[in-house]
């Protein structure tokens, strides 16, 4: 028998009114892995993440995190379980300073020493944020805001980090930097569930991947294998 997955999604169904955005999706993520969900616009990738973190309600199916059912839990309870979500489009709090944004991420931690420690860790990973410590988050550049959103998610000290389109709207050089950091965070022991439209980038970062089309998983497997797959190449890599 395989060991228990960290995150196991079974037959997940989510609808917006009459539209079924996710139609019975199943996938798993083991501890320490980077798993990517790739697919075009409207395939239901973000919906899946939003459902895992409790921002959407599932119509059916189950989401097991370390053996515990998440489907009926509220968003803030799910964060307590150790899942950090970086929502699409760099949703920082523009009215708060960089440090305050990071502290918002730690709002479930009680231990002061622990918060200071995580803060140090985040500043270590993103020295750029340290420089801008006291600046209002709304005045940061796009790349810096993405770093802040990532850093804020790290502050929750979660075991699983879910990233929704971290490359969106960023210059290629910044994207490269962000993905380097993602790999580093993974190497430090955090499992990562990654959503990306840029399939090439995602497949090069992740160890395994699932291909999503209009709410269903059509392909899955080792990312190296998917990179060589003709159908994936034709549909997502533009080859």
């Amino acid at each position: 028998m395989r060991k228990m997955a960290m995150l196991e999604v079974k037959d997940l169904k989510v609808s917006y009114g009459a539209i079924q955005a996710v139609q019975g999706v199943s996938f798993r993520l083991d501890k320490g892995e980077i798993v990517a969900l790739i697919g075009s616009n409207g395939a239901g990738k973000s919906t899946i993440l939003r459902t895992i973190s409790g921002l959407e309600r599932a119509k059916g199916g189950s989401i097991l995190f370390e053996g515990e059912e998440l489907v009926r839990l509220k968003a803030h309870k799910i964060v307590e379980r150790g899942i950090a979500h970086v929502p699409e489009g760099r949703r920082v709090f523009p009215g708060l300073t960089v440090t305050e944004n990071l502290r918002m991420g730690a709002n479930l931690l009680r231990d002061k020493a622990k918060i200071t420690e995580s803060l140090g860790k985040v500043f270590d990973i993103f020295p750029r944020l340290k420089e801008r410590e006291r600046q209002q988050a709304g005045t940061l550049s796009g790349g810096e805001q993405q770093m802040l959103a990532l850093g804020r998610a790290l502050m929750t000290e979660g075991k699983l980090l879910m990233l929704d389109e971290p490359s969106m709207g960023l210059a290629p050089i910044i994207v490269e930097e962000i993905f380097e950091v993602i790999k580093r965070i993974n190497a430090m022991g955090t499992s990562i569930l990654l959503i990306e439209q840029n399939a090439f980038l995602a497949l090069n970062t992740a160890s395994r991947a699932y291909v999503l089309e209009t709410g269903k998983i059509t392909m899955e497997g080792d990312s190296k294998a998917l990179l060589d797959d003709d159908r994936v190449k034709a549909a997502y890599l533009g080859a």
């Binding site: 921002l55 968003a75 803030h76 920082v92 709090f93 502290r103 918002m104 479930l108 929750t156």
Partner: protein, 334 residues
């Protein structure tokens, strides 16, 4: 450094005390008459209303458009205590008890309508509070023991400028410290991005309720003061027009700025009185002035700005907090 901190803490209170002394002195030499005095009292009450509305609309990013409903509950609650329950006792404590009762009446109503509507994201609060204001008005007209549509008369005139300035200063002091506490940080996070706040593990419903109930309580106290200034209240005093007035004060002054609430409420309370010499043109000129404000200062007169003593510099927040416990690393009590 110690002395500077002390001055910073006492400075706002000194300003308020100075206003009071100045007005008293002016009344003594006859420049200030009862009418001016009453306008100032209304300005103080309106500042309390606007600042509390600011907590919900400006800092927590919700949209309450029935704030006069809470004011009326507070006014009636306080008036019932002072002119019915303790009719024959003439004491400051009765007055204070009335104000607190009014505040709680408004806060309980806020809880009741907040619970269903603040669990949702979006504009539901606006719809519910709009209806709430009108329902309260309609219901109060039906309750015979408190005068029905005729209203309550003969409420003792306990409130004077001193009391109003005191409660106004207290409100601003509490709101300022609240906004710079971990609670305030959570409010601003919800305003800036509710989804992200949710994803960060902030119990958004809880914080929205907290902000809304505090605002309702302050509005109730302000209503209680109002009742004891004009000593006659009727349900139609607190119509939607009144709620709209507070919204105008808030947005003309600048939402998300306590200084803005003070400036907006003060100027726009005094302005229509000042314009009385224009007779029929008064409201037209008032409207034109508002349009000009919106054209040239679309964020409100003080949008994004705070006077030094209305602000705790966020940069200093983690090094040397001025009031209360250290916020450093405290985190939200989830």
């Amino acid at each position: 450094m110690k002395g500077k901190k002390w001055i910073k803490a006492v400075y706002p209170a000194a300003v308020v005390a100075l206003i009071y002394l100045l007005v008293t002195a002016l009344r003594g030499v006859g420049i200030m008459n009862g009418y001016y005095n009453q306008v100032l009292m209304f300005a103080g009450i309106n500042i309390m209303m606007t600042a509390s509305l600011n907590l919900v609309n400006g800092f927590t990013g919700q949209f309450c458009i029935g704030h006069a409903g809470f004011m009326s509950l507070g006014a009636y609650g306080a008036a019932v205590v002072t002119s019915m329950l303790f009719k024959n006792t003439d004491s400051v404590f009765v007055f204070l008890l009335g104000l607190v009762a009014g505040g709680f009446a408004a806060m309980i109503a806020g809880m009741l309508i907040g619970l269903p509507s603040l669990k949702l994201k979006g504009d539901y609060l606006a719809i519910v509070t709009l209806a709430f204001g009108e329902i309260v008005r309609a219901l109060l007209r039906l309750v015979k023991p408190i005068g029905g549509a005729r209203g309550m008369i003969g409420i003792p005139g306990y409130a004077n400028l001193g009391w109003i300035l005191f409660f106004m200063a207290l409100t601003l002091f509490l709101l300022r410290n609240l906004i710079h506490s971990p609670f305030g940080r959570a409010f601003i996070a919800i305003r800036d991005n509710e989804v992200a706040a949710d994803a960060m593990g902030i119990n958004t419903t809880k914080y929205k309720m907290t902000s809304f109930c505090i605002a309702a309580f302050i509005a109730g106290v302000a209503g209680g003061l109002y009742a004891h200034v004009i000593s006659f209240i009727q349900p139609d005093n607190f119509s939607f027009t009144k709620s709209a007035d507070f919204l105008v004060y808030l947005y003309a002054g600048g939402s998300g700025s306590l200084t803005g609430s003070v400036v907006g409420a003060t100027l726009l309370t005094i302005l229509p009185e000042f314009l009385r010499f224009l007779a029929d043109w008064r409201l037209a000129v008032y409207a034109v002035i508002l349009v000009l404000v919106m054209l040239y200062r679309s964020e409100g007169l003080c949008g994004g700005l705070e006077l030094p003593f209305m602000r705790i510099r966020r940069q200093e927040l983690y090094e040397e907090p001025l009031f209360g416990k250290k916020t450093k690393g405290k985190g939200e009590q989830a």
